[in-house]
């Protein structure tokens, strides 16, 4: 129970912080303003939390997904994001389940078909989940005639979602690798 609470709080805070950071950059940083779709940072929280904490992190991640558009900036979207957010969070479990059914089980050793200590394997999961998220969320939006402000739900938006999730995750990983590892190494010395 204590482990569940800890991982839930960590997942929720991580997801919310990344959303706030992404939203700030998308709305305030001059040359990146309005281009947030091409670097969606919170996808990194979905990937990292589901891979390292397991499916137990899903409720906290989902809650984290909803905090941004419902509490921090309620005017951001003109439609309910309850279902699209759920689809987005479920994109990583979907990728893991798909890979698992193909025989690529997630483990933590060199002999594991998918090693969670190997960033290349994590990128593969990110790639599949980004594709699933881009296709299914846009399919849902298209079938329900929903669209973001100043955007059309079309193939370009599918591409933007896909690239955005990939780039956003890569940026967060590189940032964490650059910041966390030297800090931990310095603390160790």
């Amino acid at each position: 129970m204590k482990n569940f609470l800890t991982l839930s709080v960590t997942s929720f805070v991580f997801s919310t912080v990344l959303w706030v950071l992404w939203h700030f950059i998308d709305t305030h940083v001059l040359f990146l303003a309005g281009k947030g779709g091409f670097f969606y940072l919170p996808h990194a929280a979905r990937v990292l939390c589901v891979i390292y904490f397991g499916f137990k992190a899903i409720p906290a991640l989902y809650l984290g997904e909803l905090v941004g558009p419902y509490v921090i900036d309620p005017d951001m979207y003109s439609f309910s994001t309850l279902l699209p957010s759920l689809i987005s969070v479920m994109s990583v479990p979907f990728a893991l389940t798909m890979l698992n059914s193909l025989g690529f089980t997630l483990g933590e050793t060199r002999s594991s078909p998918l090693n969670r200590r190997n960033y290349k394997h994590i990128f593969l999961i990110t790639f599949i989940s980004a594709g699933f998220n881009a296709l299914v969320v846009n399919l849902y939006m298209s079938r329900n005639n929903l669209s973001f402000p100043n955007a059309i739900t079309d193939i370009e938006q599918v591409y933007r979602f896909f690239v955005g999730d990939l780039l956003g995750t890569v940026f967060v990983f590189i940032f964490l690798a650059m910041i966390l590892i030297p800090v931990l190494r310095q603390a160790k010395n």
Partner: protein, 96 residues
Amino acid sequence: MKEFYRNISDALVMLDGLEKDLNIRHLSPNELKVFYTIIARSEFNKYGSNISDIVENSGMSRSTVYKTLKKLSSQGIIQLNQSEEDGRESLVVLNS
């Protein structure tokens, strides 16, 4: 709680591998700080950042920045070019 720390440790091992392949693991914290500042400043000046800019934005002392720039230059990470506008000024450019 042990499981939580084990999960975090696995995530750090993954990030460590990424850092290793990005080839930035041999840099000290000071070198990393200067390196990040140069990257950030290169957004604003494609011909290179001047050293005063780097000192101001890194929050480090001028002598530390000079020493660190010499090290980065000797490792081939950056290049120090003389400014065409002001011969007394050196411009720091990232090596590609």
